[in-house]
Amino acid sequence: MSAPPAISLRGISKRFGAVQANDAVDLDVAEGTIHGIIGENGAGKSTLVSILSGHYGADAGEIALFGESVKLASSADAIARGIGMVHQHFMLVPNFTVLENLQLGFAKTRLLKAGRKDLLARIAAISSAYGLEVDPFAVVERLPVGLQQRVEIVKALIGGGRILILDEPTGVLTPDETDRLFESLGVLKAKGVTILLITHKLREVMAVTDNVSVMRRGKMVAHRQTAQTNREELAELMVGRAVRPVRNVSPSANGEVVLQVERLSVRDETGAERLREVSFDLRAGEILGVAGVAGNGQSELLAMLAGLMPPAAGTVRIGAREIGAASPSDPAEMRALGLAHVPEDRRREGLVLPFAMRENAVLGYLDEARARRPWMIDRTRMTGRCQALMDTFDVRPANPALRAAGFSGGNQQKLVLAREHGASPRILLVGQPTRGVDVGAIEFIHRQLLALREAGCAIILVSVELDEILALSDRIMAMNGGRIVGIVDAAEADRQSVGLMMAGVAHPLPTGTAEPVYRDEAIL
């Protein structure tokens, strides 16, 4: 009880215009622990750590580090105090090398050459002390995301980091990279570094933290020891009401086949084969979950089925229409065939952010908004349609005149889903439906997808969130390197077996069998 906390915040308040982002927040973080801060988007987590990293000044409140009261007026102040911050969006110059990125903040000499050796030695020291290997001469943008993040961590530590703050560090990582990050955090903690982990993923909080604090609407609402709480309690504290994770429990409808994909291959603009001889059927009233580490062909599968990419070989059959290399399709035709698409990147492909919501609500479905004259848009009908979508899907604020950019991720996603839902599709393609979306909105979106399924719609769900795939799917298709590794009934799948398939290991054996069998060996 003798050592003062590494971080002690008292009464931190910050207001942006009408929004009270932080309201008298108190927080104590013990030295050498991993402390989680959870909360929904907009709960004030990022503002709080921005104050702690000197990016913003607080309107009121006290900050003490290791028992010493401090003023953090700038990023430089925070760095000098040993606070290292790993931002959600990396603060790296993409076309610089790792070394140049570190020189940016830590070169002490006027000439780059003079301080180079010294800095390289410090990088090497950090790398070996914490097991964070980085190649100083690699160009950052050519590194995988996980390694870019490692560069950020090294950068944070090189500043003398006794305190490491990570803001939503796993949002961009694959499950494998996430595991490796958490291993590194374990090493850092063992070496006495205090870690503040900002996240909205309860799994991560439970997995790595010692203590956890919950924020809601700018206030700190609870502090818990991780060992003495559980996901349900934390979810309830975050959202402010009980949250029941949505699960697909009803038996599969086993409807007719609405989409048949046979030996389908797709090449990107550079000619590289992104999808290799993929074959599967999709039935009415089922959710086919597509699991895979990002970049293994799922995006191309969605794009091809939505009519955005032509097939290089193979066929896709929807009803009487057969789409092949010689007879490619386009998005308008696919829509006419009863297919709707919720794109993976809603901000770039799903919405036109500077447009009003009512304009976004009719994108792709302009017929609905047309007046008597085919070249005119009936604004009243357009607004009415948007209002109806907003009401049924609980989009807040429910004002069709506001620009799409001003809505939160969850509300943007709800509008895109509402728009596509409104077309009463027979087939729905959904990419990353809950990326950057709050717990409350996730629950809502999941319920809507299941409701669509009940109504007989066939859904292809692509997600990097394995939990989401497991919770919603009837069947799970794992992809690796543009191929289908296997398709299994969701009832027989769990995290381990699907994870193995995502890594390219085919046909995992039922639980109890020790060794997985690799496809090539299985032939022997």
């Binding site: 990023s75 110059v93 993409p94 610089f96 140049e100 940016l104 000439l111 780059l112």
Partner: protein, 324 residues
């Protein structure tokens, strides 16, 4: 053969003289744009520098004071640009165009007010200008075939600012790529948020870059009116600021390729003046208009992307705002 060589040397020497203002402006643009601030106002700063140099030299009789005035004028306009674009996050193109219009009008108004010669300054005589520098041993080397003319025409006999223009290229390269300041300056043009989070001021870095651009444009202006020319004539920059910007883009925002782009535009201009009126075999006499338009046509062709896409600094033209 020897005569052709002498011709060649003379063309190259004139190329160098015609390229010098382009080089100053292009290096100025390099500093500014590498820091993420578009500088379409090179033209205006060049013109203002030319006027200030001629006016000061004419008033004081000293080319050095003229040069100093030109630098001050260039930096003053740069400060306006930085205040509008960095401090107030205004549109960089609009601010640059405003500076060009301001310079175009102000030089004439001040010129008429000060000298009453229709916007010109009085012609400057030798001691008020930077004269040509004859390097030692010109006489000694004169008889050596090839090297003699090369030394006498090209290396020797240029004015001080031509040598300075050539020197500006390695200095720019050194500052940008070998110093910590240069690294941060380039970073601020690529990912200003990274610089900010590292604890360095984005605004102060951009201010310095824009001010250096003003300084270099000022020297370029002084070159036009008190080194290459002998006095200020209205609109004497004649679009060189824009050509320099084109050279910068064609040179992909890199010092040495940008130098060569400047020299390419210079060689077109110098051959153009030599070709006008000359009866060429096969082609016949080339109309002077065709020759004069050549640099501009080339600019259009080059910029239309016939020579590979140039990737500009990522944060170019985007004012830096701390998020949220």
């Amino acid at each position: 053969m020897a005569e052709a060589w002498l011709d060649l040397m003379q063309i190259l020497a004139s190329t160098l003289r015609l390229s010098a203002p382009l080089i100053f402006c292009a290096m100025a643009g390099l500093f500014s744009e590498r820091a993420g601030v578009v500088d379409i106002g090179l033209e205006g700063k060049l013109l203002m520098g030319a006027f200030a140099a001629a006016a000061a030299a004419s008033a004081t009789g000293s080319p050095w004071l003229g040069l100093f005035a030109a630098i001050a004028a260039g930096m003053a306009l740069a400060l306006v640009h930085a205040f509008a674009c960095v401090t107030h996050r205004g549109d960089q193109i609009v601010s640059g165009v405003a500076i060009n219009i301001l310079a175009s009008g102000l030089t004439v108004v001040l010129g008429i007010a000060m000298f009453s010669q229709g916007g010109q300054t009085p012609p400057l005589s030798r001691p008020e200008r930077f004269g040509d520098i004859t390097l030692p041993f010109t006489e000694t080397f004169a008889d050596i075939p090839y090297f003699g003319p090369f030394y006498a025409e090209l290396l020797s006999g240029q004015n001080l600012l031509v040598y300075l223009a050539i020197l500006a290229v390695p200095i720019t390269g050194f500052v940008l790529f070998s110093t910590t300041f240069g690294l941060r300056l380039r970073a601020v043009g690529e990912a200003p948020e990274a610089v900010d989070s590292a604890g360095y001021s984005v605004a102060w870095l951009r201010y310095r870059a824009v001010l250096i651009a003003g300084l270099l444009c000022g020297i370029g202006g002084a070159y036009l009116s008190i080194a290459h020319g002998g006095g200020f004539v209205r609109e004497m920059s004649a679009g060189r600021g824009y050509i320099a910007l084109a050279a910068l883009i064609f040179g992909k925002w890199k010092p040495v390729p940008t130098l060569f782009a400047c020299l390419l535009f210079g060689v077109l201009e110098s051959t153009a003046s030599r070709l006008s009126g000359v009866d060429l075999p096969v082609i016949g006499e080339i109309p002077v208009e065709v020759i004069l338009v050549a640099p501009y046509v080339l600019t259009v062709i080059l910029l239309a992307g016939f020579f590979g896409r140039a990737i500009p600094p990522r944060a170019l033209s985007i004012p830096y705002v701390k998020e949220r």
